[in-house]
Structures are given as structure tokens and as C-alpha cells.
């Protein structure tokens, strides 16, 4: 440990920018980014499953509100949604006196809400597409077994739809990680926030942003490999034999 420490100190000794102090900012930023992206993806996923089923409903009053929601959130920039939820809501008369203010006061929750609603909208459409692409034969076979709609959804349609959605969803996760870079506009010290801070302090855009780009790259590859692993396990039955 001591050796490692000495090595680390020596490594940092002849540069003015990447001191233990600024690396601390980057580390905190990494924590914020991972927390924000992970939470919004989990909540978004949980929301998206029922929404995707509702989106495919035959009843208009169920189908249209969900369509409207995905249409609006996919049709407007995430940055605008974030601005509206962070800066916009404070102009609602009397919001400071309601229980909502405890949540909206901090920058983290408005950002979490914006990211969650955004990713839920995209994920809903991905799942909806996967559900729609279920082969007719599987549904007819399920009917022939006398399954109810709910049972058919649970045992036949959803499992195969999830598998089909996996590659597209992996992309959504990566997009979400990259989209989270805008969190710093509402004062959150995420990775990009840390980079902007270092940039503004040392006027060194290349150092500050290349370093943060490398961290994003590492995160992206981690996600990529996780999904590749999942695809290999879950989509094994789709691969050619001896392939």
C-alpha cells in the first residue's frame, strides 16, 4: 500500500492539474453519475413494463395517454425537460410550502425525475416494439393451451419480448449514460460537472475533458460487456448449433 502510495504521488508530482484534490472531484463526479444513471434506469425499467403493455392495449383510453407521453418525451430534448423540471417548477405559486419542495429543492431529484421519465418513454417504445414482434405462432399455441391473456403475457409474450428487446435496450442504457452529461447544468457535480470545474479552474480544456472522456469510455465498455454477456446467456437458443 505504501509503495502504491509513493508510486501514485510520484506519478502526480509533475503536473499541476491532476492533483489528489481534482481527482477527488472526478471521483465524486463518478459517484454522482453512476447513482443518477443507475437509479433512473431501474425506475424507468419498472415503469416501462406496464406502460409498454398499456401502449399495446386495444382500449383507446389506455393506449392514447401512453402514446401521448412517449411522444412528448421522445419528441423534446432531455435538456429542455431538465430545465422545465428544475427551473420551471419553482415558478408554480406556493410550491415551496408543499411537501413536494423537500424533493424538488435538491438538484438531484429533479434530475432523477427528468432522466427517469425520459428513459421510461424510450424503454416503453422498445418493449412495445418487441411485444408487437412476437411470432403469431407462439400466441396461437398459447391460446390453444387455453391460457388467459394475463397468463399468456406472463409466460409467453414477456419473456420472449424481453430477449428480443435486449440489444436495443443496451443501446438505451449507453445513451442514458451519455445523456447524463447534462446534469451539470443544474449544479450537480457529476463527471462532466467535475470536468467543467477543472476546465474553468485551470483553463485546460484538453486535459479536463479528455480525462473525463476516458472515464465515460470505460463505463460504456463495462455496460457493453455486461449486455454482451446477457445476450450470450439469454439468446443462446437463437444461435446456430456449433456456431
Amino acid at each position: 500500500m505504501e509503495q502504491l502510495n509513493a508510486w501514485f504521488t510520484e506519478l502526480l508530482s509533475d503536473n499541476a492539474i491532476f492533483t489528489a484534490n481534482t481527482l477527488g472531484y472526478y471521483l465524486d463526479g463518478l459517484g454522482s453519475t453512476v447513482r443518477l444513471v443507475f437509479l433512473s434506469l431501474i425506475i424507468g425499467l419498472v415503469l416501462a413494463v406496464p406502460l409498454a403493455i398499456a401502449r399495446g392495449s386495444r382500449r383507446k383510453w389506455i393506449k392514447w395517454p401512453v402514446f401521448l407521453y412517449t411522444y412528448v418525451f421522445r419528441g423534446t430534448p432531455l435538456l429542455i425537460q431538465l430545465y422545465l423540471i428544475y427551473y420551471g417548477v419553482v415558478f408554480i405559486e406556493g410550491i415551496q410550502d408543499t411537501f413536494l419542495w423537500a424533493i424538488l429543492k435538491d438538484a438531484f431529484y429533479p434530475a432523477l425525475i427528468a432522466f427517469t421519465l425520459n428513459t421510461a418513454a424510450y424503454t416503453t417504445e422498445i418493449f412495445h416494439g418487441a411485444i408487437k414482434a412476437t411470432p403469431r405462432g407462439e400466441i396461437e399455441a398459447a391460446r390453444a393451451y387455453g391460457m388467459s391473456r394475463a397468463l399468456m403475457m406472463r409466460r409467453i409474450i414477456m419473456p420472449s419480448a424481453f430477449r428480443r428487446a435486449l440489444p436495443a435496450y443496451g443501446n438505451e442504457v449507453i445513451f442514458m449514460l451519455h445523456a447524463s452529461a447534462i446534469a451539470s447544468v443544474v449544479t450537480i457535480m457529476d463527471l462532466t460537472g467535475a470536468a467543467r470545474f477543472v476546465y474553468a479552474r485551470f483553463y485546460a480544456p484538453f486535459d479536463a475533458f479528455l480525462f473525463v472522456a476516458a472515464i465515460y469510455l470505460c463505463l460504456t465498455f463495462a455496460i457493453l460487456y455486461l449486455f454482451r454477456y446477457l445476450e450470450k446467456k439469454l439468446l443462446a437458443h437463437l444461435k446456430p448449433l456449433n456456431g
Partner: protein, 264 residues
């Protein structure tokens, strides 16, 4: 960039070619117009402002015959080096990079920074215990950011914004308790001097330490014109000593941007 370099080089060559002591009392002062209230044009076309008055006063003291030359900011140092004028008096802040190229006089002003809060709040900025856990909004990467990070990093919760308007919004909404802002900018953003403003200034205006806020704005000369610079230094000391500086300052500002000579 190449052009600029060539111009600078040409300037250097020319100045070396005519290296000789100045032997006239005529001095041309360069200034970038406008920068209210330091310098601006009246509708009649006359130059007016704090720096114009100050410059004229300094020249009077130094027994020099001064004329003003208008020069846009990006060419102001190359112009000095190529002898288009003899000195710059244009709110130029002293920085190490500029010190390599020009000779600075003693600084004659520095704009202060102020603490701002909502009018209905009661915060004592000098009571460090009471500040514990309060949130402050600053513009990211500014000297105000450096100041609160260095002085209040353990006490206050620091939020960094891209623009001061966003700080004002969050101060208004109650997300922030405090802001620390450049005085003239705070007047524009928070309007804290108006009677119906939602904000107020608390505590003293702050210009120190020099390590954060910089040395201030000074006149700039060519490096060899040490004699001329010394004449102006003496004049600056004089206008401070006999109260003329303060009289001029009060004419244009209602806050203190003076840098009493010799104080660090």
C-alpha cells in the same frame, strides 16, 4: 494568429530600432470605449467616465500633455508595443502573462465582490457557526468560486452555475441561501439597490486576498519606459493621498473600488 505574431514581431523590431529615451511631454493614452461607467461617449461625442477623469488628473499631476487614443481590446497590447500610443489606461487587470509583455503601474482599482441574500433572510456572514450547512451559489470557475471554495469549502454547501441569472432564480426559489457575486454584476442581476428588490447585500464588500482576487487594474507601459511609469505611479499615490481619487470615485460609483497604496 500568424498575423498577430507577425505584427507583434514587427512591433518589437520597430521599438528596438528606435530605442531612445522619450524626450517630449506628450503622452498618448489608449482606451477601449465603451465600458461604463469607466469610459463612454456622451451624445455630443465627448469621452467621459471615471478612467477619463482619472487619467486627465494623473497627467495634470505629472505635468504631461495627454491625448486619448481609442483602441479595441484585442489589439491594445500590440498597439502599445508598436508605439501607436505610449500607455494603456483601460481597466487592464494585472496578470503574469501580461507582465511578460508590458510594464504595469501600481494598480488603481479593483472591483469588489459582495454577499447577496434574499431580503427576508437574516444571515450574519461573519458568524461561521451560523453559516454551517447553508448553500451558496456562484458562477463556475470565477474568482468568486475560488474564494468560497477556499474560505468556506468546509462550511457552506457550494452550488456552481453557468450564469448568474440561474443563481438569482435559485436564490429566489429558496434553493440557495446565499450568493457571492462581482459587485457591478450583482447590481445588474439582483438589483439589490432598488427599494422593491427581492435581494439585499450583506456584510462588507470583499477585494482580498490578492492571491484570489488579483492585483487589480493598472496602467500599462512599454517595458523600457520606466521613467514614464514612475511619473504615473507618483501621480497615483498623490491622488490617493489628497483625496482626489475618492472624490472622483464617488462621482461615478456608490461602492469602494479603491486600492489604497501600499496595502496588500
Amino acid at each position: 494568429m500568424k498575423k498577430l505574431l507577425a505584427l507583434t514581431l514587427l512591433g518589437v523590431v520597430m521599438t528596438t530600432a528606435t530605442a531612445q529615451a522619450r524626450d517630449t511631454d506628450e503622452v498618448r493614452l489608449a482606451i477601449d470605449v465603451p465600458y461604463e461607467p469607466f469610459v463612454y461617449r456622451t451624445p455630443a461625442g465627448e469621452l467621459e467616465g471615471f478612467e477619463i477623469d482619472l487619467g486627465n488628473e494623473l497627467c495634470k499631476r505629472a505635468n504631461l500633455d495627454c491625448t486619448w487614443v481609442e483602441q479595441s481590446w484585442d489589439g491594445i497590447i500590440p498597439g502599445l508595443l508598436s508605439r501607436k500610443y505610449d500607455a494603456i489606461l483601460s481597466s487592464m487587470a494585472i496578470t503574469p502573462e501580461r507582465e511578460n509583455q508590458v510594464l504595469f503601474s501600481i494598480p488603481y482599482y479593483n472591483t469588489p465582490s459582495v454577499w447577496i441574500t434574499r431580503r427576508d433572510r437574516d444571515i450574519d456572514i461573519n458568524d461561521k457557526d451560523a453559516l454551517e450547512g447553508l448553500s451558496v451559489g456562484v458562477q463556475r470557475g470565477t474568482i468568486r468560486d475560488s474564494y468560497v471554495t477556499q474560505m468556506y469549502g468546509d462550511t457552506l454547501d457550494i452550488h456552481r452555475y453557468s450564469s448568474s441569472q440561474d443563481v438569482a432564480n435559485d436564490l429566489m426559489s429558496g434553493r440557495l441561501d446565499l450568493s457571492f457575486e462581482d459587485y457591478p454584476l450583482a447590481v445588474d442581476t439582483f438589483h439589490f439597490k432598488d427599494d422593491d428588490s427581492e435581494f439585499k447585500k450583506i456584510g462588507e464588500s470583499i477585494k482580498k486576498p490578492v492571491s484570489i482576487f488579483g492585483k487589480g487594474a493598472a496602467m500599462a507601459f512599454r517595458k523600457r519606459d520606466k521613467e514614464l511609469a514612475e511619473k504615473f505611479n507618483q501621480a497615483i499615490r498623490d491622488v490617493y493621498a489628497d483625496g482626489t481619487y475618492e472624490k472622483l470615485m464617488k462621482q461615478y460609483f456608490d461602492y469602494d473600488l479603491s486600492l489604497p497604496v501600499g496595502e496588500k
